[in-house]
């Protein structure tokens, strides 16, 4: 079902691009080389995203051309591109728009990666490598926004904080860890690999646990003492800047 939707989407995208090609070309000023517009203002329709991308009239490679940039940009030293998408910009978009944007960004990323690899092969500099960083940043931001939405939905519907179930358990070293559950087709008591894992610690581990706690306590005490010393030093050096004085001044006023 998702595949059919994707196929429909791909066909729509290519159809939209083909129809928009005729009236898009005169808008691009001569002499400028623009790659995929990464500006957020032109988002809701996919056609405007491909605004400055003038593809071949014959899509004879049936999609393999999408792995490469606009042929006019081949051999250029620089290719201009807009800024990356920020989280706040993406939060204003609907889920359908984000879905479409994800695939647009994915194809752009694949194109840039092939270009990077080809540049490494030819031992030539890749034109404008910052495009790849921007695309990766945009994709990460999109993923973060989608995760936020899923988290909110899950909390409202079920009250579960984490998407993946887990539990606090003591491992074989005596540490309390968050054990994340895996998906298995069989119950745990029939699972040989799971039963070999030990979620308990033998008595001889207590000594080492105590040593760990002592070390942790020593570090905390050292940190606290250092903070106190720093505060005392500052108080001696700058008595007029202390917060106690400030509060007394406020009270006086």
């Amino acid at each position: 079902m998702a595949a059919a939707r994707l196929a429909v989407l791909c066909r729509k995208v290519s159809a939209a691009v083909q129809t928009s090609r005729s009236f898009m070309s005169p808008q691009v000023p001569a002499g400028t080389r623009f790659s995929l517009i990464l500006s957020p203002k032109s988002i809701p329709s996919v056609t405007s995203l491909h605004q400055c991308r003038i593809l071949h009239t014959t899509l004879s490679r049936k999609g393999l051309e999408e792995f490469f940039d606009d042929p006019k940009n081949w051999g250029e030293e620089k290719v201009k591109s807009g800024a990356a998408w920020t989280c706040q910009q993406l939060r204003n978009k609907s889920n359908e728009d984000l879905h479409k944007l994800w695939y647009v960004l994915l194809k752009e990323r694949n194109m840039l990666l092939t270009l990077e690899q080809e540049a490494k092969r030819q031992i030539l500099p890749m034109p404008s490598p910052e495009r790849l960083e921007k695309v990766i940043e945009s994709m990460d931001a999109l993923d973060k926004v989608v995760q936020e939405r899923e988290d909110a939905l899950r909390l409202l519907q079920t009250g579960q904080e984490k998407p993946r179930p887990g539990a606090w358990r003591k491992d074989i070293f005596g540490r309390i860890i968050w054990h994340k559950f895996k998906q298995w087709p069989i119950p745990w008591y029939l699972n040989k690999r799971y039963n070999r894992k030990r979620f308990f610690a033998m008595p001889y581990v207590e000594h080492f646990d105590r040593l760990k706690r002592e070390k942790h306590a020593r570090i905390q005490i050292r940190k606290r003492n250092l903070e106190k010393k720093k505060a005392k030093l500052l108080q001696e050096k700058f008595p007029h800047l202390s917060e106690a004085q400030k509060s007394s001044l406020v009270q006086d006023v």
Binding site: A3, A7, S14, R61, L64, F68, W74, L106
Partner: protein
Amino acid sequence: MEMTRVDLRNYLERIYSVPVAAVRTRVQHGSNRKRDHRNVRVKKPDCKVAYVQLAHGQTFTFPDLFPEKPSPKDGSTEDDLQAVMEEQRQRQRQDPRRGGVPQWFGL
């Protein structure tokens, strides 16, 4: 690296609408032979290579992504350079009324 040949076929067919006839994969071992200044081995990461056969009698040639363009800018940059050099020479030239006499001589 975790992508299988089935995954790749679905990926190409659904996202790029490329008809795929067959996919074969292999793992390319990245060299571990080079050593750095401490004689510690430097590993190049392993990668997976996939050989995709297209359906419907299609052919595909990898395009030349870095063609040598006869840049018309070279002539203009040379001319600009020459103009700048001449400007500098003219600035450094002494007073022509001295008749080529160096500044060492007073007056």
